[in-house]
């Protein structure tokens, strides 16, 4: 036990020194012979990906890429390797953000309510996902702070948090407009009221920020700490991205109007009618995180949902990522989302980027994930074939060079395919799917 404990402590110290999690593997692994889709460049027909210490060391043609002599060589010929998928909008883990006490709750953190044992996480890995932005729901103007997670096997939420070099937990702020956040008082009843409440709150946050600045560290002059306003100051200062649920074209433009007034960074989520205002979005330089569904409707704001959104945004030069909104769509079928984007006119390259690098950019994580490039995290997925084919299976998923899903493992396969016991502890009635929520959103 003592030896184990000492070993564990050593691993922790090493990981701290390296700025890497203890989870990261040390012996290099070389995946050889697969078609490698790096996203950062064109596909490599017979490629090599070398990973070590949790990071990618080399990517290139198998014939010319230097392979460390001590590397574990994995024959991946006949397979396809691409970066681990990045889901910019997920509700996996049964988390709940703000409650019914009010429409603006930026102090609430989704990370305080996530069950890391939820079967949904296993299914995410089975779908090739390695990074999620877990969001609270859309029933508030601001329902709480989102959290970016890395899908390592987890005992507690701490095991999967993304942190920056200072140790700060990374995430954004979930906001919403349109009908979902309109309810009985104290919630807004109209779109105009929704915007007014948000503006008032941001004005308060600006005053709070200015007071702190004016105090210049003088403890006598500092305002009392306010968790809500602190969170909004993070947004005002660009430390947190606003992940904004919005469907209708006019609601989308309202987000841009508020963004321009207060100068925050925003990503438009769902953006069902983005195809109607693609040129405005291009001009505004804002990205969209888009959901692909099997039909329009389900609520009035979705009446003009279209499969062409990705293609229209690509043509207009608007950054487009996809998301699952799990449980709205199944994380195991995230590749399908990109394929349906291609079906409706998107290029293959942009559709695959929308599952990976485009999403990483929308989380400010493109320096670490989203493509297969030396120095980036060794998050990758091994596929049985063309990522856009219905017949393609996710065979293995790697996070920081460590295998976190293997379809050949019977337990992993259960989560990939379903069956008895595959979803027993899984929360499917998430924020956005319960009957009560639906009724209140009508």
């Amino acid at each position: 036990m003592n030896a184990l404990r000492a070993g564990f402590l050593l691993a922790v110290i090493v990981s701290l020194l390296c700025g890497r999690p203890a989870f990261a593997q040390e012996r290099p692994i070389a995946f050889l012979g697969a078609e490698v889709i790096p996203i950062a460049g064109p596909a490599i027909p017979a490629g090599a990906v070398v990973v070590q210490g949790g990071r990618i060391v080399a990517v290139g043609p198998a014939a010319t890429t230097p392979i460390p002599p001590d590397a574990e060589k994995i024959d991946s010929s006949g397979k396809v390797i691409m970066p681990g998928l990045v889901d910019t909008h997920s509700h996996v883990g049964g988390g709940r953000g703000g409650d019914s006490s009010g429409p603006v709750q930026p102090d609430v953190r989704i990370l305080d309510s996530i069950n890391v044992r939820d079967a949904g996480f296993r299914k995410c890995r089975a779908g090739g996902l390695t990074t999620l932005n877990i969001m609270p729901g859309s029933g508030h103007l601001a329902s709480g702070q989102t959290v970016y997670v890395k899908l390592r096997p987890a005992n507690t939420i701490e095991d999967i948090l993304y942190r920056d070099t200072t140790g700060t937990i990374l995430g954004g702020l979930k906001m919403a407009n349109g009908t979902n956040s309109q309810q009985e008082p104290p919630f807004p009843g109209t779109r105009g009221k929704s915007a007014a409440i948000v503006r008032q709150k941001f004005l308060k946050a600006i005053a709070y920020r200015d007071k702190i600045a004016q105090a210049a560290g003088d403890r006598e002059k500092l305002p009392d700490r306010d968790l809500e306003l602190e969170s909004l100051v993070d947004v005002l200062e660009g430390r947190k991205i606003v992940h904004h649920h919005t469907h209708r074209a006019d609601d989308i433009i309202t987000v841009l109007r508020l963004r321009d007034e207060f100068g925050f960074k925003a990503v438009l989520h769902h953006a069902s009618e983005a195809w109607k205002v693609a040129h405005e979005l291009a001009k505004a330089g804002v990205g969209c995180s888009v959901i692909v569904l099997d039909s329009p409707g389900g609520k009035i704001e979705m009446m003009d949902f279209s499969l062409v959104t990705g293609a229209v945004l690509e043509k207009a030069g608007v950054a487009c990522a996809f998301h699952t909104d799990d449980p709205v769509t199944d994380s195991r079928l995230f590749l399908r989302t990109a394929a349906l984007g291609v079906r409706a006119g998107m290029s293959r390259e942009k559709a695959l980027e929308a599952l990976t690098l485009a999403g990483a950019r929308m989380l400010d994580l493109e320096g670490r994930i989203g493509s297969l490039e030396p120095g980036k995290d060794a998050d990758l997925v091994v596929l049985s074939g063309d990522p856009l084919s219905v017949h393609t299976k996710v065979l293995q998923t790697f996070v920081e060079g460590k295998k976190v899903f293997d379809r050949d493992d019977p337990e992993d396969r259960l989560f990939a395919v379903g069956g008895y016991g595959a979803s027993r502890d899984q929360d499917a009635e998430s924020c956005c799917m319960s009957t009560r929520a639906v009724e209140s959103k009508r």
Binding site: G297, V328, V342, R343, L388, V390, Y420, D427
Partner: protein
């Protein structure tokens, strides 16, 4: 824009007059009598696939199907081409037309929660053929739908079979009553205002109420044959409907997911000698022997149906394949969705089943001929054979591949969708 909506009213009336002239059912009004569809591969579902085949449709019906060399195409015939040609797809269970895409009270007619026992509710009285989701699913090749009252009531009402065309329910319908919809399990519990004080509140209560109502219908039937007319019961729509169920004229469509509830359905069918079709069946793979022995078909839940703690927690992508391998007749469906997406698409559900254990032919059969057999319209739709309805779906590749498009849809010989989707 749908083709039928683009048709000027006068043209439509002319088409109807023409159809009437041919003494053809109103739903089979082909504006233009003859059309030939040529495909690199034609999956007839009535025999092996034909390479470079032609489907010749005359007066709304399939006249001939065969290799291009064997089919004489009359001069002036409208021609369509595609990579893959299949029969018009058959969605074995949906609620489109009753459950509208806006999901607002005014377009939700699939479930009345006031009374748990309502076998007298006719689907045709609520079916809106103009509903946008009908055009939506048709764009993906679906030409026949088994639609009607939704799961969620112990007996929620009747179902019907329609073509995905027509301006009125009467034009669309090909079978006004198909089945009577029953739900067992958690979803059978009373809903709506004051639900906690209403029955059924438990699984056992639901079964007791269903058996009680069937017994009542047996008594109704018995009393109808009493010699003394005064002792015969007054006409009762509810019991009339259940009489048809008892007589085997209308099957019960029993939606259930847990093995225990599926077993309850089989037990009731056995007790009252009913024809039943199992619907959804998330755990049907646990009961393959019993389902097979009972000779009961299963319309399996949408392959992509959400799993979560509760009734569907054990569902699997492979259920259709497991049942098929056990020799159970299987169809696939778009099902019922209460939120987004407001409907699924049978083509997509079959595609995922084809990627999870069903062969291409088995998966295609689950949304064509096998579906047609289970819902009782295989004499008209589900395969491409002489005499059958001229319903065809045309694709620019493997229909199950995500990136393939459905390029045209023909119903009763009329091109109703030709925008690739």
């Amino acid at each position: 824009m749908t083709a039928s909506r683009a048709t000027p009213r006068a043209g439509l009336l002319a088409a109807m007059a023409y159809a009437a002239m041919l003494a053809w059912p109103a739903s089979a009004m082909a504006a233009d009598g003859t059309i030939a569809i040529r495909g690199d591969t034609v999956h007839t579902m009535a025999g092996p696939a034909i390479t470079d085949g032609v489907v010749l449709i005359e007066a709304g019906r399939v006249r001939q199907v065969g290799p291009v060399a064997d089919v004489v195409i009359p001069a002036g015939t409208k021609l369509l081409r595609g990579t893959v040609v299949t029969p018009g797809l058959v969605d074995a269970h949906t609620v489109v037309g009753l459950s509208g895409y806006l999901n607002q009270p005014q377009d939700q007619d699939q479930l009345d929660t006031v009374d748990p026992l309502q076998p007298e509710l006719r689907a045709i009285d609520a079916y809106n053929p103009q509903e946008r989701l009908i055009e939506w699913v048709r764009g993906f090749g679906v030409t026949t739908i088994h639609t009607g009252h939704a799961p969620g009531g112990l007996i929620s009402g009747q179902t019907m079979i329609a073509k995905t065309r027509g301006e009125t329910a009467d034009e669309a319908v090909i079978k006004p009553v198909a089945m009577v919809a029953v739900t067992l399990g958690d979803d059978a519990r009373a809903k709506g205002d004051g639900a906690e004080k209403k029955s059924p509140g438990t699984r056992s209560k639901a079964v007791a109420m269903l058996r009680g109502e069937l017994v009542k219908a047996q008594e109704y039937v018995r009393k109808q044959s009493l010699a003394e007319e005064a002792k015969r019961p007054d006409k009762d729509l509810r019991l009339e409907a259940l009489s048809k169920v008892l007589a085997g004229e209308w099957p019960l469509l029993v939606t259930a997911d847990r093995a225990a509830d599926l077993a309850s359905a089989l037990r009731i069918a056995d007790e009252f000698k009913l024809r039943i079709v199992l619907d959804s069946g998330a755990e049907a793979y646990l009961l393959t022997d019993r389902i097979k022995a009972a000779g009961v078909p299963v319309i399996v839940h949408p392959t992509m149906r959400r799993a979560g703690a509760g009734e569907t927690e054990n569902l699997s992508f492979e259920t259709a394949a497991t049942l098929k391998k056990a020799g159970i007749p299987v169809a696939l469906q778009s099902g019922y969705e209460g939120y987004v997406p407001k409907t699924r698409v049978a083509l997509f559900e079959a595609a995922l089943a084809a990627a999870n254990g069903l062969s291409f032919d088995e998966a295609l059969a689950a949304i064509t001929i096998d579906a047609a057999r289970i819902i009782g319209v295989a004499d008209r739709v589900g395969s491409l054979a002489p005499g059958k309805d001229g319903d065809v779906a045309i694709f620019d590749g493997d229909p199950f591949e995500y990136t393939t498009h459905c390029t045209a849809v023909v119903i009763d010989g009329e091109v109703l969708s030709d925008e690739p989707r």
